[in-house]
Each structure stands twice: as structure tokens, then as C-alpha cells.
């Protein structure tokens, strides 16, 4: 039992922090935000993939990755959240690569994880137009055509869906509902019949898209797992992604707390720094409690995620850990970002000041993969039903 970063993990985190401080500063983030439709900085992605190799950090070495664990992934995600990194990293690694790690066979892993390791961007599409994040929320439909599969329908709120080069798509058998009939497919984004549309979003640092399939043909080798029985695989993928997002949320929450404390010490009213008022001190103390606890929750969940990927932790244990982390970190980040605006006063609601970017990211991160209430209900179902 040693529930803290090792020296090596600290080094990974500090290296990420230094890299992102240089390449994901305020100016860089704002330049990305302004792009219409949203586009990522290809040069920055190239640096991440060649200099840092983060896109393959937790991919096993046999598939071209670094073979590190989920805690190491957490160690780079926290700085990414701290610096509002605009990048296809989350979609590629935390959604698509996790789906492949969980659902693909050896041949598929060798092919597609190697593509990701080489810098191909990817994402996972599962949510339908109704916007339910759960496995049961899959609306797009698959059917068979000889040996092949055919996809039809709409996917919405797909992170980086308009720009990803490789897609993992969840669909359900026509007429099925709930967790029945779910299949996972992997296909290139330029497959004939596949439409992609960027959705302008309130948070401009994490683009979303709508995908539509009209008789898109996926050959049998693009099926991940068993047809119609992929619900547990998709569920596990979403749990892993939720844990990754929680780690990112910790970084963002820590940053807005740091900004608030720093600002309150400089800002003088009534002849004293506002940091000397208990009204501010106690608010900041409550926020630190939320942020440090968020770090504990994400760290715990990352340990469980690592074991789950090795087969040492069961699906229920992973589900519980994911919901603990996502529920707490979502609420903590939103609370911290909102309180940060209050501590900053008027400047906090301006476009020029970066706090608004974190406030918006905290909200989009809360929504993505299910908010606190939804994850609490998952825990309640485990405890009470």
C-alpha cells in the first residue's frame, strides 16, 4: 500500500506540466478556440505523438505502446486539464484506444492501436440524439448484409467526431432496447455514406460533432467482440473514459483554485487584501477540501482502472470506482470554477480573463459521460436494488 505517485510517475507529471505550460498557454488555447469549424493544432499533436508519445502511454508494448499503467495516464491528464489542452487526445486515447483495448481481438489491436501509436486520431461514437450517455442510450442501428454489417442512424455529442480519422461506433440491432443488441465497430472516418458535422459548442476547447450513417458498410473484420453482445465492453470503455475525464477535471479544478487564491491575495478592498477576510478564506478552504478529495477519488479510480485492464478487477468494481470519481470530480470542478468567478468579482465574467474558459470546460466535462446525479444513481442501483 503506497497511495501516492512514485518517483517515475512524478517525473511523468512534471514533464507533462512543463510541456503544456510551454505549448498550451492562454494564447495557444484561444487560437484553437477561434477556429471555425474547430480544428486542432496539427503541429502540437505531432509533438505530443513523437516527442512525448502520450497517445500510446497505456497501450501495451506488444501493440507499439509504452506499456505504462492507468496511473501514468492520470499523471498526464491532470496537467492537460490544468492547461485546457485543445487536442484530440481525450477522444483518441481515453475513448477510442480504451474501446480497442477492451473490445478488440489481437489482430485488431495490432492493426488499430498501432495506427493510434503512429499518430492517427480517433474517437468513440455511441450517444444518440437523445443524449443519454449510458450503454442503453445507443440509438444508431446495425444490421447484417451477408458477411458484412450495415450502419444507419444518428450519433450526437461525439468528441472530436468531425476530425477524427478512425471511428469506433456503437450501434444496436434494429428492434433491440436497453443493453441488448449492442455491437461495436471500428471503421475509417471516410467510409462511404458516413456524414460528419461539427456542432458549435459553448465550451470551445472540446469540439463535438454529429455523425450520420446511411447504409455504411463495415466488413466483418471491423466488428469488435461479438455481434449484439458488446454492452459490457462498451460499459467498461465508458467507465475507463469517465475515470480519465475525472483526472482531467482534477487538473482544471486545481488551476481555478490556484488562480483564485493568488488573485485574492493581490486584490485590495477596504484597505486589506480580500484573502484576509474569513468569507474568502473559508470559501477557499472548502474548495481545497473538494479538490484534494477529487484527487483522491481520481487516484483511487485510476488504480482500479489499471487493475481492470489487467483483468484483476471486476466490472462492478470498475463501475463503482468510475462513478465515485466522475460524480465527485464533476461536482467539485463545477463548484470550484463557479466559486472562482465569485472570488474574482467582475473580472471573472469577462471574455478576456481565462477563468471563463475553465468555467465552460467544467460544465462541458460535467455533462460528458454523465453528471454527478447520473453517477450517483448508478451507485444507488448497486447499493439498493
Amino acid at each position: 500500500m503506497d497511495f501516492k505517485f512514485t518517483e517515475e510517475q512524478l517525473m511523468i507529471r512534471d514533464t507533462a506540466e512543463a510541456f503544456l505550460a510551454e505549448f498550451s498557454g492562454s494564447a495557444a488555447v484561444r487560437e484553437q478556440m477561434a477556429a471555425q469549424p474547430a480544428a486542432y493544432d496539427a503541429e502540437l499533436w505531432r509533438r505530443i505523438c513523437t516527442d512525448m508519445y502520450w497517445q500510446a502511454i497505456h497501450v501495451p508494448e506488444q501493440y507499439g505502446g509504452l506499456g505504462l499503467g492507468y496511473v501514468e495516464l492520470l499523471a498526464v491528464l491532470e496537467p492537460m486539464g490544468r492547461h485546457l489542452l485543445c487536442s484530440p487526445f481525450f477522444a483518441t486515447v481515453c475513448l477510442a484506444a480504451n474501446a480497442l483495448l477492451v473490445a478488440a481481438d489481437d489482430r485488431q489491436k495490432a492493426e488499430f492501436l498501432a495506427q493510434i501509436a503512429a499518430g492517427t486520431t480517433a474517437t468513440l461514437a455511441w450517444t444518440g440524439a437523445r443524449g443519454q450517455w449510458s450503454v442503453a442510450g445507443v440509438e444508431g442501428v446495425w444490421s447484417r448484409s451477408g458477411e458484412d454489417f450495415v450502419l444507419n442512424g444518428q450519433w450526437r455529442f461525439v468528441p472530436d467526431g468531425h476530425s477524427a480519422q478512425l471511428l469506433v461506433i456503437a450501434a444496436r440491432e434494429a428492434g433491440s432496447d436497453g443493453e441488448d443488441g449492442i455491437s461495436l465497430f471500428v471503421l475509417p472516418a471516410d467510409a462511404p455514406g458516413l456524414g460528419r458535422e461539427w456542432l458549435p459548442a459553448m465550451d470551445q476547447t472540446r469540439p463535438q460533432a454529429r455523425l450520420s450513417c446511411r447504409d455504411v458498410v463495415v466488413p466483418a473484420r471491423g466488428l469488435l467482440g461479438e455481434a449484439g453482445r458488446a454492452a459490457p465492453l462498451l460499459g467498461k470503455t465508458l467507465d475507463l473514459a469517465s475515470i480519465a475525464l475525472a483526472a482531467e477535471q482534477v487538473g482544471g479544478a486545481q488551476r481555478v483554485l490556484d488562480m483564485s487564491v493568488e488573485y485574492s491575495r493581490e486584490r485590495v478592498q477596504f484597505g486589506r487584501s480580500i484573502a484576509s477576510f474569513q468569507a474568502i478564506k473559508h470559501k477557499a478552504a472548502d474548495l481545497l477540501l473538494k479538490v484534494e478529495s477529487a484527487r483522491s477519488a481520481a487516484s483511487y479510480a485510476a488504480c482500479i482502472a489499471g487493475r481492470a485492464l489487467l483483468g484483476d478487477a471486476g466490472d462492478a468494481e470498475l463501475r463503482e470506482a468510475a462513478s465515485v470519481a466522475k460524480a465527485w470530480c464533476s461536482d467539485a470542478y463545477f463548484l470550484t470554477a463557479g466559486s472562482a468567478i465569485q472570488i474574482h468579482g467582475g473580472i471573472g465574467v469577462t471574455w478576456e480573463y481565462d477563468l471563463q474558459l475553465y468555467f465552460k470546460r467544467s460544465r462541458s466535462s460535467e455533462v460528458l459521460l454523465g453528471n454527478g446525479a447520473q453517477h450517483r444513481e448508478r451507485i444507488a442501483a448497486m447499493l439498493l436494488d
Binding site: T6, Q278, K281, A285, V324
Partner: protein
């Protein structure tokens, strides 16, 4: 970073679990789950017998050095001990003030003679301790203690006049460690001493305080020319604050993990009651029960981080500083949740005149959690000032 214990430590876990199963039975069976917070007044004599049983098995003071009767147990092993103890329903430890607070204090600040005199009684479960810190005018502002200690040159003894309050288990204790003012006219942190007093003496009077639960864990302790020997001061006159603050650091030790398992037992009971009475179908209560589960999971993780990460020099890490505020607030909310799950039944007592059930007692007593050991407001000051570097409160 990992949550697992080594195979060697898991073997240690089986050893203590096996010992508890074999020994926490027979005459000790009724003590299971008793004597915790809010119930500290129950079965004192039987619980002292249980302490001696533990001591005979070598299961008291396991974190102390072997030379003083401990096992030199690692932090992990102490964590395991407290987890298994709570899991087995081990009764609230009568000896915890001596083992957890005074012992480490004497090991850190005491003289060899003091260790030789006082540690064996704690180790063997034959001598019990209480804490003499708070006074009517020194609660959150602990440095405002007024109890006077003066040295009688002729008799070569320290004499005490004044009053302590909120002293747990004073009636069951053989000794009290007392923070008192050695320098007349001094104020604040300066001019204090840290003393070791026998409770059985003419100059000490104890009056129980009846709490909102109807029970009395706490007491007032009055000193009227109470005394102790010249050598029963820890450190020098004037060192009292430093020694007393050291004790508060030990309070955030490994025993907190055992507390987490007591909390788990309480939450499990709430879940059982919710399933039985239909509260489990109420969407709002479902959210709150899940929130309690999440909060407790994180409490344990905060605790493991605190134990994994504390600096060797004893300075408190951020996770240590948030710990009291976190658990006290979580536990107080759990009390309210328990009552809301029970619904109208929550108002009905087990028996007259004021026989509370376990959840009712917990609900009422948790209102003290956010006060004793540093109020939530004091905790927030500490966090803001020490963890976040915000300006200190002006002193009056």
C-alpha cells in the same frame, strides 16, 4: 501508486483477524460494537478487562518501539490492525488516549524516566489517561488556558488551580495530561507547561456533563491545589504549547482508518433500513445514500494518502489538513440522512426515559463532531492559512 497491501502484510491481517475471532467472544461478546463515539460511557470495567486481554496478546501499542513493549509495526500494519479491529466490531478502546496521544508524546518529548514510569501502564492496559486541554474560556482559542501551575519549592511539587472541561472518560482515568500556565501573567502560547497528574487525589473534583443524548462522555474537572511531582512535567516550563501541538498531530494518526470502518458499519445499517422500509425507492434519498457512499470511499482514500504521504518531519500535508473538516462534515450529514431514511420512526425511542437506538444516538452525537478537536471554522482557518498561504487571523 497502489492500493494493495503486500503478501506479508496480508498475512499480518489474517493473524490479527484470527486472534480477534478467537478472543473477542465469551465474556467479551457483549462489547462488540460498543463504546464508540457517543457510547463511550458504556461497560467501562469490561472494556478495561478487554484492554488487558488485548495487551496479553501483544495487540496494544503495536506502533511503539519494541523496547517499550510495542511491535514496531509499520504504518501499513497499523492500518490493517485498526481495519480488522473495527471489522470485528472491537469495542471502543478505553486506552486510546494513552496509546494514541500520550504515548507518542512521551516518546517524542518525554524523559526516559517518564517513559519508564508511564508507558508500561498504557501498554499493559492497567493505567488509563484523559486529556486536560479545553477550559470554559479556552475552546477554539486553546492558547487562552487559565489553569495555573505553580511550583512549591518547599515541598518540591507542582500545584494546580483552575478548571478543565470536555474531558472524556475522566471518571475512568487514572491520569490526566494537563496544559497549564506556569508563568503568571503570561498569555497565549507562551508560559505554558505540559503536566502529568494522577486523578485520584483530594485536589481534583470531577462533574459529568450530560449531553443532548442524555448520556455523559464528557466531564468538567476542577483543580483546587491539585498536585504532581516535580518531574511530572514534559519538557520545560514554557514548552507546553509545543508539546500540546505535537499531541494534536498524533490525533490525525492511523486510528482514523478504524473510524472509517465504524462509519461503514453505520452506512451499511442505513442501507439495510432503507431497503426494508421502502426509502430505497425514493429518488432523493437514493441520491443522498449514494453520496454518502461516495463520500466514505473518498474519506478512506484521503486517509490512505495522508498515511502514505506525510513528511518525515511531521509537518502536515494538505490531505492531513482537510481530514478533520472532511470526516466531521460527512459524518454529521450521515446522521441527518439516517433520520430521513427512518422517517417518522426516527422520532420514536426504543424505551423510556431516553433510550436512543444506535442511529438516533449517532445522529445527535455527530453534532459534536464538527466542534470537538477543532471546530470546522477553526479547521478552515488552518487550511486557508497553512495550506493556501492566506493571511492569518488578527489576534485580539
Amino acid at each position: 501508486m497502489q492500493l494493495n497491501f503486500s503478501a506479508e502484510n496480508e498475512q499480518f491481517r489474517r493473524e490479527i483477524a484470527g486472534w480477534l475471532e478467537a478472543n473477542l467472544c465469551g465474556e467479551f461478546e457483549p462489547l462488540r460494537g460498543r463504546g464508540g463515539p457517543g457510547d463511550e460511557h458504556s461497560y467501562p470495567e469490561q472494556r478495561k478487562a478487554w484492554e488487558r486481554e488485548l495487551a496479553a496478546g501483544g495487540w496494544t501499542c503495536i506502533g511503539w518501539p519494541e523496547s517499550y513493549g510495542g511491535r514496531d509495526a509499520s504504518i501499513e500494519q497499523q492500518v490493517i490492525f485498526h481495519e480488522e479491529y473495527a471489522r470485528a466490531g472491537g469495542p471502543g478502546r478505553m486506552g486510546h488516549i494513552g496509546e494514541g496521544l500520550l504515548g507518542p508524546t512521551l516518546l517524542a518529548f518525554g524523559s526516559e524516566a517518564q517513559r519508564q514510569r508511564y508507558l508500561p501502564g498504557i501498554r499493559n492496559g492497567t493505567e488509563y489517561w484523559c486529556q486536560g486541554y479545553s477550559e470554559p474560556g479556552a475552546g477554539s482559542d486553546l492558547a487562552n488556558v487559565k489553569t495555573r501551575a505553580r511550583f512549591d519549592q518547599q515541598r518540591g511539587r507542582w500545584l494546580f488551580d483552575g478548571q478543565k472541561t470536555w474531558t472524556s472518560n475522566a471518571l475512568e482515568s487514572d491520569f490526566c495530561f494537563v496544559l497549564a500556565r506556569t508563568e503568571p501573567g503570561s498569555s497565549g502560547h507562551k508560559g505554558l507547561g505540559f503536566f502529568l497528574l494522577a486523578m485520584e487525589q483530594p485536589g481534583i473534583e470531577i462533574r459529568p456533563i450530560r449531553q443532548l443524548t442524555g448520556t455523559s462522555e464528557f466531564n468538567e474537572v476542577f483543580f483546587d491545589a491539585a498536585e504532581c511531582a516535580a518531574e511530572d512535567i514534559v519538557g520545560d516550563p514554557g514548552d507546553g504549547w509545543k508539546v500540546a501541538m505535537g499531541v494534536l498531530g498524533f490525533e490525525r494518526g492511523v486510528s482514523t482508518l478504524g473510524q472509517n470502518l465504524l462509519f461503514q458499519n453505520e452506512l451499511d445499517e442505513i442501507v439495510r433500513r432503507a431497503k426494508a422500509n421502502g426509502a430505497a425507492r425514493d429518488p432523493v434519498l437514493r441520491q443522498r445514500i449514494a453520496d454518502a457512499h461516495i463520500g466514505l470511499r473518498i474519506l478512506r482514500c484521503n486517509c490512505l494518502r495522508m498515511l502514505s504521504g506525510n513528511a518525515a518531519d511531521g509537518t502536515l500535508s494538505r490531505e492531513s489538513m482537510i481530514y478533520k473538516l472532511y470526516w466531521s462534515t460527512w459524518h454529521r450529514n450521515l446522521g441527518k440522512l439516517a433520520m430521513d431514511v427512518l422517517g417518522p420512526e426516527s422520532e420514536i425511542l426504543e424505551d423510556g426515559p431516553y433510550q436512543l437506538n444506535r442511529l438516533q444516538s449517532m445522529y445527535l452525537f455527530t453534532r459534536a463532531d464538527t466542534i470537538y478537536g477543532g471546530t470546522n471554522q477553526i479547521q478552515r482557518n488552518i487550511i486557508a492559512e497553512r495550506a493556501l498561504g492566506m493571511p492569518r487571523e488578527p489576534r485580539g
